[in-house]
């Protein structure tokens, strides 16, 4: 089956990201496909490229990137939720006259319409919230 996940919790503060990554591994192991993870609400903080967790803790940003590299899962971040929270890619940073950026590929800033498309397009959408 074709799955998408909606992640609404900040990494480290809530278990949402951890649960979503565990679920992602399990659904892939059963032969399903994970089209996309969509990040909304505080979930957008998962895309923070500068995250530097202690070495004995899971590195969530890296875990998302691996999901993209190994399984082609798209990592889409709601742009409106992200801008408010200080998560800008190079394009948005320059559009807002800011030096530096906090989000980089494979995370993509995208509109909320993508979530609706996904939710109606895949076989199963599962939400992980804080």
């Amino acid at each position: 089956m074709r799955y998408a996940l909606l992640v609404q919790g900040a990494p480290y503060s809530s278990q949402a990201s951890h649960s979503a990554l565990r679920f992602a591994a399990a659904l892939l192991a059963r032969g399903n496909r994970l089209e996309c993870v969509f990040f909304y609400h505080d979930g957008v903080y998962n895309a923070a490229r500068l995250a530097a967790p202690p070495q004995d803790e899971p590195h969530l940003v890296d875990a998302w990137v691996r999901l993209n590299e190994e399984h082609g899962t798209q990592l889409q971040v709601c742009i409106a939720a992200a801008l408010r929270r200080g998560l800008l890619d190079e394009r948005e940073a320059s559009r807002h006259g800011k030096s530096g950026h906090s989000v980089e590929p494979p995370f993509e800033l995208t509109g909320l319409g993508q979530l609706i498309d996904l939710g109606l397009g895949v076989d199963r959408l599962v939400t992980f919230a804080p």
Binding site: L6, Y40, H41, A80, A81, G111, L112, G113, L115, I116, D117, G119, L120, L125, T127, A129
Partner: protein, 125 residues
């Protein structure tokens, strides 16, 4: 509840949080507006403390920011007219539909389950 209430559609957004204390309500309404703008048939269910989003006479937030009351007034413009609330949630708070700013159909549990079953995509906020 009117006899002709239609309990199905494309997208159901369940709003369980009141205004101001968190951004859940606003981000949930944004999802509903976007779904409607994309041509989907959208329904809203206000449940739990989310029914308080419907109270008349809400004001701005602590730093003057707008609440969600103005957004609710825009729902009709987006053709979001299937508005429901959990009657038990409203009753628990001791409120009646008279104090609400919009006409919303109260639902009892069997109809709430039917509403959820009747939509292809259900998002909770």
């Amino acid at each position: 509840m009117q006899a002709e209430t239609v309990l199905d559609g494309d997208v159901l957004v369940i709003l369980r949080h009141p205004p101001h204390g968190s951004s859940w309500l606003r981000e949930g309404l944004d999802a509903a507006l976007v779904a409607a703008a994309f041509g989907q048939a959208v329904s809203l269910l206000f449940q739990g403390d989310g029914v308080l989003a419907l109270l008349q006479g809400q004001g701005p937030g602590p730093l003057g920011q707008k609440g969600t009351s103005a957004t609710l007034d825009m729902l009709a413009m987006y053709d979001i007219e299937s508005l429901f609330l959990d009657a038990t949630s409203l009753a628990r708070l001791g409120l009646s539909t008279d104090s609400l700013q919009l006409p919303v159909s109260p639902l009892e549990p069997p109809s709430i389950a039917a509403l959820i079953a009747g939509h292809r995509l259900v998002l909770t906020f």
